[in-house]
Symmetry: C2
DNA sequence: GTGAAAGCGCTAACAG
DNA sequence: CTGTTAGCGCTTTCAC
């Protein structure tokens, strides 16, 4: 074990001097500096990070809590976090939950154990009541949690959906369905609320049977089309909260001779490259930016303003 | 700071007894056990992981080195690693490199600093010569590195490509191009080797201008189609090493009235759900299994056998 | 500028 | 069964 002590001995200085050199503190005579560096070289010394972490009470690593790793949405948000983290010398620790509450709690537990300095929750499964005891300024939510003391960055899903409906109405649609990934969670609830509010205001009450749920993947979109086809009364348009799902719908519709948008219009969210490629009308959702901002919030002190991000419609061929 | 010492004091026992209880070691009188547990409860004690790591010289975490996070390929491999790691109480630390050599070396540096117990290299940028000094039994490669002492799990890309060509020949194609993500790296080199070997053996020498490179994303596939269209002499079929790219090709071809497979056949790799959705003929590549096996190898002692995984053709509509 | 020494919090060998 | 004690390796205050 070549540690700081052995190099102190070899260099003929004290451990504190070695530490100073290693951490580029000022006030070390150049001569001793060199001696230390030589010893480091000679003994092939490598700092033990765990000792540093213990001593400092910090790890310069942040945990990212996410349900799945094989969805573009989370890949993109991760990319955003990772980029920003790198700039600040932090690295990422992954806590994949599969939306399992226990797995999510484990992440908090590890934070308490100081394995990570903080946590970014990209999607949450436990209730806030359950998590409350663990939440502090080192926890960032990617949703509009109500507690004003919590750090958060979120998409304006409420307005997003409302704008979507407005757009569909302007195109003459009034029989409109909704396709969601899940029904719980703040983000989904905001979308649902926007959907109901706007629908009712416009005098087109929501038809529950036109709401599809549990749609994450391409395949799920294909199932939606099949289900849609079965219905006696069909919506003429669907708002779909993920481009992956929309892509599945478009391909399945193609196979079945369902004309998009004539038989069924699709208004999507994300603006993932697949939407561009497949000519899917989609609201751009700045997911990567959510990742970037979430890390910035983590670093900020005090009670920083929540970050609110808007969606932008990109008109293409599916509406 | 409520530490092991304070709870020892409160429980009226020694720190070692506390440690024993906390780690579920045998030989602790039930009575003291309870005392300790009560104290833990009362003081809201939480173990400091960094102290454990330092003391044990282990972190029970493994680093995953990957270039990008926003590609399904890496999402899938991560999913495989994460699942297996979870079973064994390990968690993941992410090292995203963007194929930057320095970033990759940093991962090795952190391993040396004991931040992670090991490293899984899903894709590599440095030469093995550069990495050699850092490679031990705690490093796993997802490629067929030549050194027999290195742990590795890899896809038989060589045979995969050869089988692909064989299949295309059987369908009457002889003017065949190749679409790669990159040209360096063992996996790509194996594919290229397979392509050259089979082409020459079949008497259809490779046309360099039919080899496309740097294809990772959907968009890249669209560009390939445009480039293909420009060519005076066109291949009648393309082997494409990623379904994402193939998907981009299919959509772009559709827009341009290029008939698949009549004008251009596409033989893809991955068998990502998008291939099924878009009816793309594709070799299934067990990427998730690569992730699972890589973690298992990490855990294994001695010099375990390399894991070789094969690809399986799924005939669909693009050939 | 520099060193001694007291932590950081836990583990484990050893002695009883 | 249980306690003492010596680490694990680095940081940082304090005194000189």
């Amino acid at each position: 074990m070549t540690n700081i002590r052995s190099i102190a001995k070899l260099a003929g200085v004290s451990v504190s001097t070695v530490s100073r050199v290693l951490n580029e503190h000022p006030y070390v005579k150049e001569e001793k500096r060199q001696k230390v560096l030589e010893a480091v070289e000679q003994l092939n010394y490598i700092k033990n990070a765990n000792a540093v972490h213990l001593s400092k009470g910090k790890t310069y690593s942040i945990g990212v809590v996410l349900p799945y790793l094989n969805l573009p949405y989370f890949g993109e948000i991760l990319q955003g976090i990772a980029g920003e983290a790198l700039k600040h010398g932090y690295h990422l620790q992954l806590f994949q939950t599969n939306y399992d509450r226990g797995a999510e709690l484990d992440a908090f537990h590890r934070m308490q154990m100081k394995e990570v300095d903080g946590l970014i929750l990209t999607s949450r499964s436990n209730s806030l009541d359950v998590l409350a005891p663990f939440i502090g300024p080192n926890v960032v939510f990617c949703e509009n949690v109500y507690d004003p003391t919590y750090k958060k960055v979120f998409i304006n899903h409420y307005e997003g959906i409302r704008n979507g409906l407005k757009y569909l109405y302007s195109k003459g649609h009034s029989r409109i369905g909704l396709c969601l990934n899940r029904t719980f969670g703040t983000n989904s609830e905001e979308r649902i609320r926007g959907f109901y509010d706007s629908s009712e205001a416009a005098g087109h009450p929501v038809r529950e049977e036109w709401i599809f749920n549990d749609c994450y993947h391409l395949q799920d979109g294909r199932e939606v089309v099949k289900a849609w086809e079965q219905k006696k009364e069909k919506p003429s348009a669907l708002i779909v909260t993920s481009d992956q799902v929309s892509a599945g719908m478009v391909t399945e519709a193609g196979k079945r001779g369902i004309r998009i948008p004539d038989d069924l219009a699709i208004l999507s969210f994300d603006n993932h490259p697949i939407a561009d490629a497949m000519d899917i009308t989609s609201f751009e959702v700045p997911i990567r930016k959510v990742g970037e901002e979430s890390f910035k919030l983590f670093l900020e002190n005090g009670n920083p303003q929540p970050v609110l991000l808007e969606t932008t419609l990109l008109e293409r061929g599916t509406v």
